[in-house]
Homo-oligomer: 112 residues x 2
């Protein structure tokens, strides 16, 4: 699956930066305009725009321009490729723990 691995490469590289992760964390709550995204960072707007471009190229975010305002959103399912890969790396011990967790979920009465 070369395409799957290419996508993993770009998503992982895009997320391997604290500013870009902070942007993703903010967008997980709701879409935001660029000025809102820039507010928490003490960096020039062109630097932030460059980070946004990396995230957009990786397919993690999308953006739409209405007049002079650009709104950025987390792309639905953007992190699925990472969830999928991580899920596949569960060790035999972790699979056993999962089964125990599911058993407890099924046998524990609701509301406890």
């Amino acid at each position: 699956m070369p395409k799957y691995h290419d996508q993993l490469d770009v998503v992982l590289r895009a997320l391997a930066d604290p500013t870009r992760r902070a942007v993703v964390e903010r967008l997980a709550k709701s879409p935001a305009v660029v000025s809102e995204l820039a507010a928490p960072f003490s960096m020039a707007l062109p630097s932030l725009m460059q980070h946004l471009r990396v995230l957009e190229d990786a397919g993690v975010v999308t953006s739409q321009k209405h007049g002079r305002v650009r709104t950025v959103s987390l792309r639905p399912g953007a992190l699925d490729v990472l969830h999928l890969w991580l899920g596949e790396q569960r060790t035999p011990a972790e699979h056993q723990a999962d089964r125990l967790g599911l058993h407890l979920t099924r046998t524990t009465p609701k509301g406890t």
Copy 2:
């Protein structure tokens, strides 16, 4: 949490390479000696050793030398930091889907 984010940086960077991910995929099944890990790759051993060093520095794998044989293992909980961060990025719509999934798990009779 600067330490948490530093760790995320190094783990994400370590995984943003298809050879290193292939090594992690192999080690998720069981520990392996270096020659076993090298077998599927058409690369010189020193290059593979360099990839292993990146994974070890990131805390993703550990290794032990017995005589002339080095055995490499996935460090237990090595990917937890990534699971944790990904879990935090669930959007409101995904949280709703989670609750539905849990409800179905609880209300669907066992074995169906």
